[in-house]
Amino acid sequence: MSFPWANEYKPTNPLMQWVDNRLPLPRFVYNAVGAGYPVPRNLNYMWNFGVLAGFALVLQIVTGVVLAMHYAANAGVAFDSVEHIMRDVNWGWMLRYAHANGASMFFIVVYTHIFRGFFYSSYKAPREMIWLLGVVIFLLMMATAFMGYVLPWGQMSFWGAKVITGLFSAIPLVGTPLQQWLLGGFAPDNAALNRFFSLHFLLPFVILGVIILHVWALHIPGSSNPTGVEVKQESDTVPFHPYYTAKDGFGLGIFLMVYCALVFFAPNLLGHPDNYIPANPLSTPAHIVPEWYFWPFYAILRAFTSDFMFIPAKLMGVLAMFSAILVWFFLPWLDTSPVRSGHYRPLFRKFFYLLVVDVLVLGYCGGAPAEEPYVMISQIASMYYFLHFLVILPIVSSVETPQPLPFSITEAVLGKDEHATLAPATPAVA
């Protein structure tokens, strides 16, 4: 679906005409990310992050496939095979650092993408499906990243695997057998390492599939925009190519510079030193911490220190940690304000910034050792996290008086002049 004024693909080259008549793949690309996709004219740099996330996934797949050619998924040799990549494989050090830091960059980009969605309420009708698929992608990313971190078979790999699969043991009755079934043993070992490698190779392609659905769902209503006002007329949009391909190209350049600065000058900045110690089931690290992108959720997990009613603290923590992400699935129905953009919602905006600070605090506490004052701070911060989504957001959206919206995107960009408001009204097809 697209707007009626979208450019049509008209190949002039006879070869392309021949292809188009038999397999309209070039037409598909043209309509998806080419001049045939009309996009709101007012997108800011926050709208770069979807493309960047897709780029990061491709980077991870390309570096990962080559790394898999040199890696050995066997508990006896996995650690040494990673060191073999670092020392003896041509440019292996660069591939591995690119892959490890690529995961961090992927999460930075995706977190920005998600918080863009929070601020501009991108999850609201008619874009709920895009949002739901996005949360699925995020969950798959977390699983993939976790299993990837296990593969070097260092101390944090081993103990991280033990802690995370241990979450399942909190489930009443079936918990412990379930954990043993997931690991293929009583503790992480060769069986676990092998299946994690297999799944770590598979899941990125599943993510790719869900991304295709995510982008497909996006092309039904078209992109949202910073005003939150739907496209009404042709003057509200510009073709994706060249306007946003050029803008994304610039964003991609900035992304790559930050990424390469990490890879070449601080490749271990975001990692933990303990993962350069080979896995040792007999020696528990003093502080087991996951990678930085899991810290906010890890803080929520550890915030539950007392049994509540009849529910053990561990189970409460596990429930809360999973709920912290599952709650995003319900956002489109929790936030009922008819206005999308945070620009026109003064009260919502204040709480949004509070949530950003809250998640940063949670992240800091999740990376810190499990001792005071971090535990108490993360308890307060987790409390706000749940109240924000489940209590504050529904209340704010019913009591808040939003500021007046512009009539159209064109008016928001050009101001309220006659030309903008009296443009020939082409009815938008919903």
Binding site: E83, M257, F264, S306, A313, F330, W333, E372, S382, V391
Partner: protein, 273 residues
Amino acid sequence: MVRLFGPLVGLFFAVALLWSFGNGAYNAATQPTPPTAEKLFHMHPKEVAFSFDGAFGTFDKAQLQRGFKVYQEVCSNCHSLKQVAFRDLAQLGYKEAEVKAIAKNWGNKAQTFDPKTGDRGDRPNLPSDHFPPVYYAGQGNPPDLSLIAKSRHGGAQYIHSLLTGYTDQAGYKNEAGEELLKKFPDAKTPDGLYFNPYFANLNLAMPQPLTSDGQVTYSDGTKATVDQMSMDVAAFLTWTAEPKLDKRKQTGWPVLGFLLAATVLAYLAKRNV
């Protein structure tokens, strides 16, 4: 439905957290956790500068050769270096013949096994061999040093601090002026362990390895003080952990330069559109 159950779920988690918070606060008020000796007396690594610091830093080959000598004469008695091969020493500036000689004369020999006869034996090391395993007769298991600089917070600074950080526990005071054994009489270092405030739990099994100036004789005439030897071996162990450090940084600058130019072009292209 969502608007009905959502707030209930939210309040459920909030109340459970409040309960945890209240219990934690009550415990903290009634039975505060006393600070531990490790917390009050563990020292962060000394702030010393190395040639490979920063985005432009590179290894100093002469220093790496001196550090290798310290490893060879002191550390290698107990610690292995299994990720490193003798051939890698060529990167420190040794000639091929020198590498061959170092491998051939190395104290521990390469292990051999003849599958036909079942005989085990040994042979001199070749440049293609990795450093051989070290048999340690004492208690415990001295860690392999290949990756030690990357597997400790502080890296080379930590190694230098640890090697120069041995001190007498009696009368030891921290920066706040508190005396360890007065504050924690139970924290006396057990027999067979050695006190070192740079080690995470203050007591480690390794006796002070670098004890006196001139313990190693440098061939380049550098005075082998304990401080100098510890700096050199810390640099050497950084090289064993990250042998591609120089190449990495050398590659990084052209890459960033290219990306900067490409980004400027992309920006101009965007302005043009």
